[in-house]
């Protein structure tokens, strides 16, 4: 009985320590942004702004004006063009957009349309001015349905907001052979 009194605290301590070690979050989990998810039609509110999913469409080819010349892009997958409404901005902010497909894979906005009109890489959003942003992704076709749009402040985003916007159910109603991106 006396031996048990000595051994029991050690066993309990080891169990507690093991439980803590097993449940310790990894580095990425500790420092990742804090996600706020909004259902379709609702606005997601973050620390610096609120965003609502507005529209989406797909295209096989994109064209846009850059430095006075027309740029054409085509893809072996599909282009997904997403638009979102920005409101309630508290501080001028630049955004980074990503699409999380049904598989869980994350796709950043394609660099192939950098400097296209109104895409988030060219835009800065300011307080008091309601605005609309656009993000373009190049995806495998089966990653569109069931996906989520993710928006966060551009640059280091440790423990800041990440807004997850749910699109309407199903696939985009509009598919274009060629879509021209206008300002």
């Amino acid at each position: 009985m006396i031996r048990l009194r000595h051994v029991l605290p050690i066993v309990l301590g080891a169990c507690a320590l093991g439980a803590m070690m097993a449940t310790t979050p990894d580095f990425n989990s500790v420092f990742r942004p804090l996600r706020t998810t909004a259902p379709n039609g609702a606005a997601a509110h973050g620390r610096l702004l609120a965003v609502r999913f507005a529209d989406w469409q797909t295209a096989q080819q994109l064209s846009f004006e850059r430095y006075g010349a027309t740029v054409m892009r085509d893809t072996q997958g599909v282009f997904l063009v997403v638009e979102f409404d920005i409101s309630d901005v508290r501080e001028s902010v630049r955004l980074a957009a990503a699409w999380q497909g049904r598989s869980g894979r994350r796709y950043d906005q394609t660099k192939r349309v950098d400097d296209a009109p109104s895409t988030v890489d060219t835009r800065q959003f300011h307080p008091g001015l309601e605005d609309r942003g656009r993000a373009v992704f190049e995806l495998p076709p089966d990653e569109i349905e069931g996906g989520t749009l993710l928006l966060a402040r551009k640059g280091p985003n440790i423990l800041d907001s990440e807004l997850a916007l749910t699109p309407p159910a199903g696939s985009p109603a509009r598919h274009n052979k060629l879509l021209r991106l206008e300002p």
Binding site: R90, Q124, G128
Partner: protein, 183 residues
């Protein structure tokens, strides 16, 4: 009594550990915030050897977009090598009484707007303390900033100027831009 001593020691060690780990985070937070703003009434002020004067301020509202105003601010900065080392860089922002923060526009399109709004038709570029000449002693430089704001929010604005080396200290100037309506 002996248990109390152990408890006190453990508490002291815990607090030391928290302070040791939290100190870099606190420093990091302080280097990005401006919670000790020095209110400047006369349009000119000094902080850590850098003397800054607001020499021009103007707002333009264009008829096609009457809800938006472009606000131009020109700074004249007297820089010494010691001040440059103390400040390290220069950040300019506008704040309203509700705590909203506007950062300067950073795109190629701002050049024409600044030249149109400045009194001499020139654009000296954003605030930068970059040393152009290793031998440079005391010099006076100018900087032009352009902000995009709601046209009904031009009252009670303050211009904050700070550097990595000064924050959380900053200079805060009252701004009342003259409004020009453009057709």
């Amino acid at each position: 009594m002996r248990q109390l001593a152990w408890l006190a020691t453990a508490t002291l060690l815990f607090c030391t550990l928290v302070a040791f780990n939290g100190w870099p985070a606190l420093r990091d937070l302080a280097s990005n915030r401006e919670w000790r703003a020095q209110q400047v009434q006369s349009g000119a002020g000094s902080l850590k050897g850098l003397h800054i004067t607001v020499t021009e301020q103007a707002a333009a509202i264009a008829e096609p977009r009457p809800e938006r105003a472009a606000v131009h601010v020109r700074l004249q900065i007297r820089v010494t090598p010691e001040a440059r080392d103390a400040w390290k860089d220069c950040r300019v922002s506008l704040r309203d009484p509700h705590g909203r923060v506007w950062m300067p526009l950073a795109s190629a399109n701002t050049d024409g707007a600044i030249k149109m709004l400045s009194s001499d038709g020139r654009n000296f570029g954003p605030c930068s303390l970059y040393r152009r000449d290793e031998q440079a002693g005391e010099e006076t430089i100018q900087a032009d900033q352009l902000f995009l704001m709601p046209s009904d929010g031009l009252q009670g604005l303050r211009l904050y100027v700070s550097g990595v080396g000064t924050r959380p200290d900053a200079l805060s100037f009252a701004i009342e831009p003259a409004i020009r309506r453009l057709r």
